[in-house]
Structure formats: structure tokens, C-alpha cells
Amino acid sequence: MTPAIQLAGVSRLFGAVRALDDVSLSIAPGEFFALLGPSGSGKTTCLRLIAGFDRPTQGKVLLDGEDVTDIPPFDRSVNTVFQDYALFPHMSVAENVAYGPRVRGVAAPERHRRALEVLELVRLRALADRAPSQLSGGQKQRVALARALINEPKVLLLDEPLGALDLRLREEMQLELKAIQQKIGITFVYVTHDQSEALSMADRVAVFCDGRVEQLDSPRDLYMRPRTAFVARFVGSANVIEGELAQRITGEPRPFAIRPEAIEVLAMTEPPPAGALSCEGVLEDIHYHGATSRWHVRTNTGAVLSAVRPESAPVDGAPVHGSRVRLAWSRDSLVPLAER
């Protein structure tokens, strides 16, 4: 099957800065694909190259097998939902949505009918005559989505679309976006710096760091089997243990990751379970998160490890702030990492 999008050895230089460094990836039709990374990692540059707002310094961009590297955005069957929504302030909601058909020469009554249809899909039909300035953030978001979807693009690009929304609305929109994607079955490329958003929505995630794809995997594999220290930290908030401490715990200097929820915090009086790996340290800090709390323990080598403890665990005899504790985990939960 021809990939919906293919990047072949794409680099983008801004002066001496490599925003993208020899990136190759292909995205299957109908896939929900996330580009995940911190700001400045190259994920947005990557999206801009696919949309056509920018051109690669090297390499090729292919849409549906066709080389579009030199084709301007208005001739690509790709549409974008912008981070700031980019709704036209001088047009009503319906006019905004009908903009794509309008510039393609669809007659006014027909494009208005189609705009209302798409607005129905995002449950905003009642607001068709409003001005964008009269909408809430979530509503603007939906209008931006409808305006892109009306063109029936092969690929929809979403640039941190939920970044400006509050947590509750964001979670609601995540479900809705996913539902819409499954309903219409077009390829979504979703840029985000929020790992939980990428993990919960995407079929596959490309993790970006310093202009490179650090790892490209399914959410589960990314979380369970990070290949590098960066991915382990960024995606799973995992503890990365390297150098002397790694040597002391496992007997070899190779770095490894251990997820906070796999670590058990024991009082010094409790013996570690048989076969478990362990180390000691001082309980420095406890961060309460509701269902769980995160414990920060400074080990003898100075590295701080964090462990997640469910709040349902018994309080009696639990170690207190400032006391010495033992950290223990099973050998299976170690994730060996590539050395840099």
C-alpha cells in the first residue's frame, strides 16, 4: 500500500541550526500519527514541510506516492488545523467553513449547504452565523476542524490543536477528535508536546529530539520499551539510571530505565523481596497527585529516583519524609537503553 505521507531523508536548516536532521518516516493511509517532542525538537517544522508552508533543505516529501516537495500548499490535498485556529475574523463561522469550497469555485448555496453539514459533524450547526470572536476556545477549535474537513483532504495536519484549552475540555476534545478520525477514516498527523495526549490518541508516535526521530513506535511499545534515555524520560517520566549507580545495581555500566510505578519503597527494616534489585536512599520529597503520590528518593550516589505509590496503600508504618528507605524492583522491569 502506498503510504499517505512519506518523508525521505528530509533536513531543514535555518542558518547553521538543523531544525530537522535527515528524517525519514512513512505514514499509512487512515493512520492516527503523532509527532511528539519538546518545543524546538523539529516536530512543527516537520508538519510545516508536509503542509507546504516551508521547503526542506534536503530530501523529499511524498503525498500518496507523489513528490510534492516543490508544490505550494494550495495545490496539496492536505489541510491544517492551526494552533491559534487562524479563523478569518471578518467572516462568519459558516463562511469560514465554506472558504475551501469558495476558493475552488463552488457556488454559494451549495457551499453553504456543505458547510452546515460539516458543522453538524462537529456539533456547531446552531452557531453558523456567529462571528469567530463570539466563540469559546473549544468552539473555535471545532470550527477550525470543520473548515479543514470540508475539503475532504487525504491528510489532516493538527498543530497542537488542543494546546490552548483547559484540561477538561482537552480530554473531551481528544475523545471527539479520535471519534471523528475513526468515522471519516482520513489520515491524521498530530503534533503535540503532551505525551499523554500522544499515547492516548495515536496509532503510532514519532518522538522527536534535536531534529531527529528518536524512536517511532506504537504508544505501548514507546512506554514499555523506550530505546533511549530521552524517550524513557520524556514519554514515561521514567528513571534513567546510568554510570556508577547502574554498575552498582546491575553489575554492568549499561544505562537502563525503570518506571516509577515499578519501584517499591520499603522501610529499612523490611527486607527486599527475593530476587529483586534494590538500592538505598533518603526520602526527600513527596508529591501528592490524588490517586497516587510520587516519592523522590536521593540515592547514595546523589541521583534522585522517583517512585509512584498508590494512595490506597496502607499508611501505617510507611516511611516518613527525611527517613532512609530501600527501593526495590524486579529484574524484569528493567529496560536496557542504548548508550549515547
Binding site: F74, N79, T80, A86, P89, A148
Partner: protein
């Protein structure tokens, strides 16, 4: 503990926001009210007085006689139409020239280049207005540098044809409406560029990208997005160029054909002719024209994007 006086005064004001606000606003409002609006009102009242033909004294009684005199004389109507035509031509030309410059300054120029352009646009305004007008008279003269330059380019016949055109032509650029038009455009161009640049700067680049992304070709993006969003700036700039041209009396008296303009009439009527009411009535004409222009612009949706 006794509080320092400044502190008690501050808390006194803090509790009385309305009083505080009016205290701050009163001096500038007084200035605006008396000096600007008051004098405008005096002008308006003056235009409804008339002059006694025998004694040449102003009769302080409200009448429409002066306005009747204004519109009944074909020469006066000619002056108004001539000034209006010049103002429209200058405004349109300034807009066409300013548009690409403002767009470049707002969107494409590097910060250095932008600073250079801002200085370049405003620098001429730091020079004396009179000096510039007289300099232009020399530039546009028959033996002036412009004729010489056009001749060097081998375009003298083009210029001669332009000068041979009735109404706008004349013996030389310095004594034709064409020359006057050039000077007007030169003088007021900065007043068009600056508000237009500000308007372009307020249009987020993502709107242009969104338009292209949705399939609009550059021409369509310009017509559907750039132009409507630049209209408030265009309206602001054109009010400047339009009203400055309508009211100016120095450029028409130094450069160009001998026909009168509104500003010159005002100057003459309040000075040598001593007919203050007629001068006032002439001054009201630009105000009315601008009001008509603004209401037209509003109806065309120029301020919808504000």
C-alpha cells in the same frame, strides 16, 4: 499610627475610581473641548453668518446666505470639484504605492531593514514643509532635474505627451496639475504607509497560511483575506491623504496650474477678501466630504475587521 499624607490621599483616591479618573482626564478633555471642538464649533457658527455687502461687516445672525453664495457661484463649485478630484487621485495613487511597501515592511523586512524603511518613510517629514514644496518647484521646472533625467532616459516625448494632455497638462510640470499631483502624493505618502503598515502587522501570518492551506491561490488570498483585513488601515491612511489634500493651500499656490483650490479660497477669503463667513463655509466643505467618505467606507465594511 499616623499615616503619611500621601498615603491617605492615595487611599482616598483608591476608593473613588470615578473621581480619580475624572481628575486625570479633566485637563486633556478641557484642552480638547475648548481648543479643538470649541474652535470647530466657532467655525461652524461663523459659516452660518453672512457679510453685509455694503459695510463689509459680519452680521451675527444665523442665515444660509453664505452657503447659498457658495453653491450658486459656478466658480466655487468648480473649486470644490477640482479639489475633490485632486484629493481622490492623490489618495488612490498613495494607496497603490503604499500597499506593497507597507506589506513588505510589516511582513518580510528583517528588523534592520524595517528600521531603515521606517526612517526612510519618516525622514522627509522631519524637513520643513515649505522647503520641500519649493524644492519640488525647482525639480519640476522646465530646466529642472526631472526633465533632464527623463530626457536622458529618452522618454521626453512621453512627458511632452502628458503635458500636452488637456486639464492635467501645462507648459511644464511645475505649472501643471500633473506636477501638483506629484508633489501631493510625495507629501502625503508617509501618512498612508504608516497606518497601512500597522494594519498589516496586525494580520497574523497563520491567516495567510490557512488561506493557502485551504486551496486559495495567492491572488485569492489577497482578495479574500489580506485586502479586507488591511481595509481599516487603508481607511485611516486615506482619511489623512484625503483631508490633507482637501485642506492644503501652499502646494497649489507654489506648484501647478493657476486654478484655485479650497484651501487657497479659505486663505484668500479670510485674508484679503475679508469674508470670514465664506471662508468658514469653504472650510466646512472638506468636513462634509470626509464625513460622506467615512460613511461610505463604513457601509462598504472597511471597519468590520476592527
Amino acid at each position: 499610627m499616623p499615616q503619611p499624607a500621601s498615603r491617605t490621599f492615595a487611599s482616598f483616591l483608591y476608593g473613588r475610581r470615578g473621581f480619580y479618573l475624572s481628575l486625570l482626564l479633566l485637563p486633556p478633555l478641557l484642552w480638547l473641548g475648548t481648543v479643538y471642538l470649541g474652535s470647530l464649533f466657532a467655525l461652524l457658527v461663523q459659516s452660518f453668518y453672512a457679510i453685509d455687502e455694503f459695510t463689509a461687516r459680519i452680521v451675527p445672525k444665523l442665515t444660509l446666505a453664505t452657503y447659498r453664495q457658495l453653491v450658486s457661484h459656478p466658480a466655487n463649485v468648480d473649486i470644490i470639484l477640482r479639489t475633490l478630484a485632486m484629493a481622490v487621485a492623490v489618495t488612490l495613487t498613495a494607496a497603490v504605492i503604499a500597499f506593497p511597501i507597507a506589506n513588505y515592511m510589516a511582513r518580510y523586512a528583517t528588523p534592520r531593514m524595517k528600521a531603515f524603511f521606517y526612517v526612510g518613510v519618516m525622514l522627509p517629514m522631519w524637513t520643513s514643509y515649505l522647503v520641500k514644496v519649493y524644492a519640488w518647484r525647482l525639480v519640476l521646472a522646465k530646466q529642472g532635474i526631472l526633465f533632464w533625467f527623463v530626457d536622458q532616459l529618452g522618454l521626453a516625448p512621453v512627458l511632452d505627451t502628458a503635458l500636452a494632455t488637456p486639464v492635467i497638462g501645462g507648459p511644464s510640470l511645475a505649472s501643471s496639475y500633473l506636477g501638483m499631483f506629484i508633489v501631493f502624493v510625495y507629501m502625503w505618502l508617509p501618512f498612508m504607509i504608516l497606518p497601512l503598515t500597522a494594519a498589516f502587522e496586525r494580520v497574523p501570518v497563520s491567516l495567510l497560511q490557512a488561506s493557502a492551506d485551504l486551496g486559495a491561490r495567492p491572488r485569492q488570498t489577497f482578495r479574500n483575506v489580506v485586502l479586507p483585513l488591511a481595509l481599516p488601515g487603508l481607511a485611516a491612511g486615506s482619511v489623512f491623504t484625503f483631508s490633507l489634500t482637501l485642506g492644503d493651500y501652499i502646494i497649489p499656490s507654489v506648484v501647478g496650474a493657476p486654478g484655485y483650490f479650497i484651501g487657497m479660497m479659505v486663505y484668500q477669503q479670510q485674508g484679503t477678501a475679508g469674508n470670514l463667513p465664506l471662508a468658514a463655509a469653504f472650510s466646512v466643505v472638506p468636513i462634509i466630504l470626509i464625513a460622506i467618505y467615512l460613511s461610505l467606507a463604513k457601509r462598504l465594511g472597511a471597519f468590520d475587521a476592527l
